[in-house]
Symmetry: C2
Subunit: 300 residues, 2 copies
């Protein structure tokens, strides 16, 4: 076992860079003061970041491979929710220095495997000594202006859709193994451009709440239409979070076309209503229950 | 005192975004899944990241303003060392949740003040609960291909220069208050393009070592020429680190021109020699002492 203490910071970065070969979009990757990347041509640049922390997003028992994989997957999910294509990532790793270097290699192997699958280049990083295991990834992406989908574009009458299933992501392990919905996002922006889109990280209620707030509209959710992951109740879908599914709204004509596609698992779960009608859940019998965004998962 | 526990994650990000107004290079800043930025035109994209951790890079007693300032300053220093101009940053903050919200505001004010000074847009971020205070910033930059300076371009016969003074950065507080050498970097790339450049974060010996290794050359340092910060000995300049000065090499003809400029404090401290001659220090009497890169600061 090579301990990190003996390997040193420079050795670690060099070693990890070998796990992640880069595309020709990268002029200079790991090993200089910054990465040098080809600029997107006729596209906008997207930028996002996520920090994962031991005992919040994973535990000491979580496999290193899955920790690394999740750290990148969350960021790809954000780029997908914007209608973009992920490109280049920088990785900051905070470790105690007492870890077996194979564990750290596994973290990078997890990043590298997903990076390869989604054609993301790992172009730089930082390693620091911390008490908890911490991994921060910042990811760039590209999108044509016409493909970008904001949270703020929902219109009254839009139908609300979600990919996959919701709830019970933490207990079921879905939060560690999910595939970011990039294929679904590209399918949507090219064929059925959504008015608004977000990925579900804080739970359906809180994340739909972001769309409603920024779009200045209300929503009605159909209780019996919400697709539930195995072992999940509606309340779990509402507030568990970490589903990393896409939540989006479409005008009625596009929605009726989308309902007929069979390529991806996408479910209509409600509709956008005027802000004055509020944010509510409707059951099978037409009974309404008011919802509020604080039902979602809060980190503090 | 508003405690973060009551403010919540969404409130925190919203509140902080108000401290950092953005330029028109930002199509969408904080508040969506990712930032949307105008792509550089006819320039390359630079990307870097740095993670600062309590009790490694600062302590609980360090003022929040200076912690935030340093987190951004380190990243700007990396962009400067590449010959680029900093553009957009995303900020991840790990806090215990027990902090006075004014402290966290101060961290962002420190980031915001330096961002304003260097025309950097704060375009997104993440907040997470951690034991230690942790701040990670990822920063983009732009540079024309002809302005980019790598670590790998040093040639035998090049003169070695450094900006400012070295050593004693931690005790003197310089590491918290330094101004990233962006003006110096732009002056150099436009008027005296260096063959190689790096910023000194791990100490002169280790960082010059990176240039030597990547350029496959050796170096002779002049012991009595090394500019020392107040209270620093040569040994401190060699290994203290966190100076955030630019270290660069120039061909002899450009070097003799640079020596005569009075605009910036830049000192010639040695020259590049063939790799076979090694890496050594020469004193006033011509006595040589061998140097090795492991003399630099190691994080593990």
């Amino acid at each position: 076992m090579v301990k990190l203490t003996y390997l040193g910071e420079f050795g670690l970065i060099e070693r990890l860079s070998r796990l992640c070969p880069c595309s020709n979009a990268v002029i200079k990757g790991i090993g200089d003061d910054t990465a040098v990347l080809r600029s997107p041509v006729k596209k906008q640049l997207l930028l996002t970041t996520d920090m994962l922390v031991e005992n919040v997003h994973f535990t000491r028992k979580t496999k290193g491979f899955l920790i690394g994989r999740k750290a990148l997957a969350c960021n790809i999910s954000d780029i997908a929710a914007m209608g973009g294509i992920p490109k280049s990532a920088v990785v900051s790793l905070g470790i105690s220095g007492r870890e077996d270097s194979r564990f750290v290699d596994e973290v990078y192997r997890g990043i590298g495997a997903l990076a390869k699958e989604f054609k993301v280049d790992i172009v730089g990083g930082d390693t620091v000594k911390t008490h908890q295991l911490i991994i921060n990834i910042a990811l760039t992406g590209e999108a044509s202006m016409r493909d970008i989908v904001y949270r703020s574009g929902a219109k009254v009458g839009d139908k609300i859709f979600v990919t996959g299933e919701l709830g019970n992501s933490l207990k079921s392990g879905h939060h560690l193994t999910f595939t970011p919905r990039l294929a679904e996002s590209q399918f949507l922006v090219k064929k059925y451009p959504p008015h608004s889109m977000i990925d579900i990280s804080d739970g359906l209620i809180a994340d739909l709440g972001h769309i409603l707030k920024q779009s200045k509209v209300g929503a009605c959710l159909y209780e019996d239409q919400i697709p539930l992951r195995k072992g999940a109740r509606v309340a779990d879908a509402f507030k568990d979070g970490e589903d990393f599914e896409l939540l989006f709204t479409l005008p009625p004509d596009k929605a009726s076309l989308l309902r007929r596609q069979k390529k991806f698992n996408m479910t209509e779960i409600g509709e956008i209503v005027p802000a004055a009608q509020g944010y509510f859940l409707m059951d099978d019998n037409g009974r309404k229950e008011s919802l509020n965004t604080s039902t979602g998962y809060q980190h503090f």
